[in-house]
């Protein structure tokens, strides 16, 4: 059975078929399960101490050396250079929420200097970022929606080679690219795939995935990396091994062997859930829509959980009229720093909850008002072969137009 999660386009795609276009062409391959693919490289300059051991003057010298090299390499149409020492904590956190810099880079560990920290961001798509003086002198990162590890690896290799044309890397034949932490030494490559695994969570099979991943030298973590919770059932799977296997083998393992089986596993679990109670799944998804269309106060956690349910609903073809890219955008836009950046000032937690609820009401309301074809309003999942009983009241909330005069994120009438 095609659950619909395998894409409105798709009939009969095997659960493990990652060529499957997913549910939205703008969300990349296998986007019903894969949120994004990311790669990062750890690199250091020869002749400079690693950032944790370097005094302020040496960290500055690294920036002075790298800035013209990074900007001159023309890695994107335009590059934005952000000197993190002169930015507000709020701005830095918004970059963390976008996954352009690490939490560590934004805040530093206790007692660590912020000195000489910077990031270069590729514009206009903001998919390439280069952190300067994080744990290593250079952390190059490329990120793309959907399942596209080859794509990000190709992009990062290009950036790496361009920078190496002008910079001498710390490299040894024995240990490879030398990194401050020996857990990154060798290739310095960390491949990560962000997966949405709600069905495996519900069916309690996630532990199996975690154990299998561990045996294969991979880690499964929450969406914002080390030590973060997997709110909304978003999990990041990354390689731990960086030495003893080449970049090509690491990529092969993740791209052709491991991630496709996790995708297939999640899809199979979703099919079972749908078979076991389609109405219940539909109800869950639409309740989440209803809540976000009407709530007046929302915590980040609740918003993420509801958006996760909606994401699953869209992937299963239960919520026609909403698209995955909007959900991804809202997942980031509802994070605390983004809410405050949109309003343009620091807010208390209560104010943030109010602004978040307003933002989600307005964005989801707009999406339903403008994008939903009326025919699909009546019969969600009409492409499905299975006949549906008449539409129940669970669909009604979406017919509501957005409330007039709802405060948006930028109009400041939330306090």
């Amino acid at each position: 059975m095609n659950t619909g999660g395998l894409g409105p386009s798709g009939g009969g795609n095997a659960p493990g078929d990652v060529r499957n276009g997913g549910v939205d062409p703008d969300s990349g391959r296998a986007s019903d399960v894969v949120v994004s693919s990311r790669v990062r490289l750890a690199r250091n300059l020869a002749g400079f101490r690693f950032p944790n051991r370097a005094p302020a003057s040496e960290r500055t010298a690294v920036v002075v050396k790298l800035k013209p090299i990074v900007l001159g390499a023309r890695l994107s149409a335009q590059t934005e250079w952000v000197d993190l020492t002169s930015t507000t904590p709020m701005h830095r956190m918004s970059l963390v929420e976008e996954r352009l810099i690490s939490r560590h880079h934004a805040m530093g560990k206790a007692g660590e200097p912020m000195h000489g920290r910077a990031v270069a961001i590729g514009l206009p798509d903001r998919r390439l970022s280069i952190m300067i003086n994080e744990e290593d002198h250079l952390r190059l990162q490329a990120i793309r929606p959907g399942f596209d590890l080859s794509g990000v690896v190709e992009e990062i290799e290009h950036a790496d080679d361009a920078i190496e044309q002008k910079a001498d890397y710390a490299f040894s034949p024995r240990f490879g690219y030398l990194s401050a932490c020996p857990t990154n030494v060798g290739t310095g490559v960390r491949l990560s795939v962000m997966l949405h695994l709600p069905a495996l969570k519900i069916t309690r099979e996630l532990e199996k995935v975690k154990r299998a991943a561990d045996d294969l030298g991979l880690t499964v973590r929450g969406s914002y990396g080390e030590g973060t919770e997997a709110t909304g059932d978003f999990y990041q799977i990354s390689n731990q091994t960086t030495i003893g296997k080449s970049e090509a083998v690491l990529l092969r393992e993740m791209e052709s062997e491991i991630i496709p089986s996790v995708i297939a596993y999640e899809r199979t679990a979703r099919e079972r859930l749908i078979k076991g109670g389609r109405r219940g799944m539909e109800d869950q998804a639409w309740r989440a829509v209803g809540l976000l269309l009407h709530a007046r106060l929302l915590s980040t956690e609740e918003a993420t959980k509801m958006l996760s349910r909606i994401r699953l609903g869209i992937a299963l073809g239960l919520i026609p009229g909403l698209r995955l890219p909007l959900i991804q955008q809202l997942l980031i836009a509802s994070q605390p720093a983004h809410i405050q950046m949109a309003i343009g000032q620091e807010l208390t937690q209560e104010q943030r909850r109010e602004a978040r609820a307003a933002l989600l009401r307005s964005k989801l309301g707009e999406a339903f008002a403008t994008k939903r074809p009326p025919s699909r309003l009546i019969r969600p999942g009409s492409a499905e072969a299975k006949p549906e009983p008449p539409v129940g009241p669970s669909n009604r909330p979406v017919k509501r137009p957005p409330e007039p005069g709802q405060p948006g994120p930028g109009n400041g009438d939330n306090r």
Binding site: D168, S172, P173, G176, A180, C181, P182, T241, K245, S246
Partner: protein, 193 residues
């Protein structure tokens, strides 16, 4: 490559009766010269202090290590002690990998599923420059002849394992990798090293 080997021993300074805490190995035109100095004399000769770098000059390489008596190994380049590394998990500079090599190897092996030697990318410009240069230049990038042979043997083993496990896509990747390594080994003139 400068190769640093260190033993912790109670040895007197070459210049006085104090305990030698700095062992300097200098290789000049292939001749190895070892000096053992106490902290004071090492400082006077400008060999210690945070920020002292390994010195490379024409025909000479100096490698430093500082061993505080009864305590721990210390990197002569950035001053990081092995104990401090164990505490925060971060090395201080490239030289730390040489100074702490013996102690790091088992840690790296555990953290990386048994991996202890780099296989994969080599800095492109560095490799191109080395291949136009002498044996030493090649060794700085690709390692000694023995290391290179070991790397190729390791790749062959990984390839055999992949074939035995019917992981054909992985085997194809490894075969490409092996060919690349063998081509590097042959060098630009096609001469096996």
């Amino acid at each position: 490559m400068p190769n640093a080997r260190y033993e912790v021993s109670l040895v007197k300074c070459d210049l006085c009766d104090a305990e030698a805490t700095v062992h300097e190995t200098q290789i000049v035109n292939g001749q190895v010269r070892v000096r053992r100095l106490c902290e004071r004399h090492a400082a006077e000769l400008g060999l210690t202090g945070v920020g002292s770098e390994p010195v490379s000059g024409a025909g000479s390489t100096v490698v430093l290590s500082m061993n505080k008596p009864g305590t721990t190994l210390r990197c002569g380049s950035c001053g990081l002690s092995y104990a401090a590394f164990r505490q925060n998990g971060l090395l201080g500079c490239s030289n730390c990998y040489e100074v702490f090599e013996d102690k790091l190897t088992p840690l790296i092996e555990r953290a990386h599923q048994g991996g202890t030697h780099h296989i994969g990318k080599t800095p492109v410009r560095m490799l191109a420059a080395a291949q136009g240069g002498d044996v030493q230049a090649v060794e700085r990038v690709l390692g000694s002849a023995r290391e290179r042979a070991e790397r190729i043997a390791l790749l062959r083993k990984q390839l055999e394992d992949a074939l035995a496990n019917e992981q054909y896509e992985r085997a194809a990747t490894l075969r490409d990798e092996l060919r690349r390594s063998e081509a590097e080994e042959a060098g630009p003139e096609g001469e096996p090293a």
